[in-house]
């Protein structure tokens, strides 16, 4: 009896290891929690994309629940999620764009603001405009402070201006219902 128990130890260890490694097959290496959750929005002073004279700071998020969507016209997945974002806006959600351009190299800066604005206007008139306004992250500093790894990414910001959720990838009905809906409804009621 004791001998059987002894032989079961390696079997048990093997099974444990197998289960652990098997789970690894289905884990998403890109899925790591943002370290900014529950923290206030980082400080920033950035212009409006369409009206460069106008500037925003982190205080603009106080008082309402906001979806901050990081995007760019060069980003294909962003174009795919735009119609759904538009639908969310039609349902009354407050969506703000954080726009950044890939072609603007802070060390050189070859693209004019007018051209960026034209590209954005074209894209939005074609696919629908879900944004209340767009913040222009000229040198991608705010993106860096937010821990953005690429586009699209979306942050859910509560009425106190705190980041409550960070989603990497596009927003679609499945993601909205599984990840955002419950928390969003909770935050709106507060």
């Amino acid at each position: 009896m004791k001998k059987i128990a002894l032989y079961l130890i390696p079997l048990g260890l093997f099974l444990g290891l197998s289960i652990f490694l098997f789970q690894g097959l289905f884990s998403d290496p890109r899925d790591h929690q943002s370290s900014l959750l529950e923290k206030p929005m980082p400080e920033f002073v950035l212009p409006d994309l369409m009206d460069i004279e106008k500037t925003y700071t982190e205080e603009v998020f106080l008082g309402k629940v906001t979806l901050l969507n990081v995007w760019g016209v060069w980003c294909i997945t962003c174009a795919i999620e735009l119609p759904y974002l538009k639908q969310l806006q039609d349902e009354g959600k407050h969506i703000v764009g954080l726009y950044y351009d890939q072609d603007i190299d802070p060390d050189f800066g070859i693209k004019t603001v007018e051209r960026v604005q034209q590209e954005v206007t074209d894209k939005l008139s074609q696919l629908g405009n879900p944004y209340a306004y767009n913040i222009f992250d000229v040198k991608r500093d705010l993106s860096l402070d937010l821990g953005v790894t690429g586009a699209p990414e979306t942050y859910l910001i509560d009425q106190q201006g705190k980041i409550r959720l960070h989603h990497i990838g596009d927003i679609n009905p499945r993601v909205w219902n599984n990840k955002f809906a419950t928390l969003y409804d909770e935050l709106v009621v507060q």
Binding site: P29, S35, L36, P106, R140, S143, G147, T149
Partner: protein, 150 residues
Amino acid sequence: MNRLINTFFILILVCFGNSVSATEDNFQFDSPQQNALFLELTKELRCPKCQNQNIADSDAMIAVDLRRKVYELLQKGYDRDQVIDFMKQRYGDFVYYQPPVNPMTIWLWLLPILFIVVALAGIVMTRKRQAPEIDNEQLAKAQAILERDE
């Protein structure tokens, strides 16, 4: 045929292209020490977008931005730990190749030691159990047999 050659060529590029470092930025440093620190940090910080590359090796936009940030921070007089903390605050522990020691990760260090201890204990236990099986009487018998053979 032409297509096949093209595919082959692309494969070669994909396989070996990575070994060429992507760093082509022109950063000016005040001192060689600072330059060395920059090279060290960009090797140890991990690109959040391209999982298995450090930011020195990657040409993703985020890696370019992070390299410039490291440079800016060094110019501002940040030391090594401060730069790493700055990045960790934004991109999590993920961004640094050396994992922190916490209740979750302590097993990375403890498990090998535990394994060795348990294995040693196992060996000692089995040795002890075998030891009394040969007593003096058996030894004498064996000796007798050996002597007889001679």
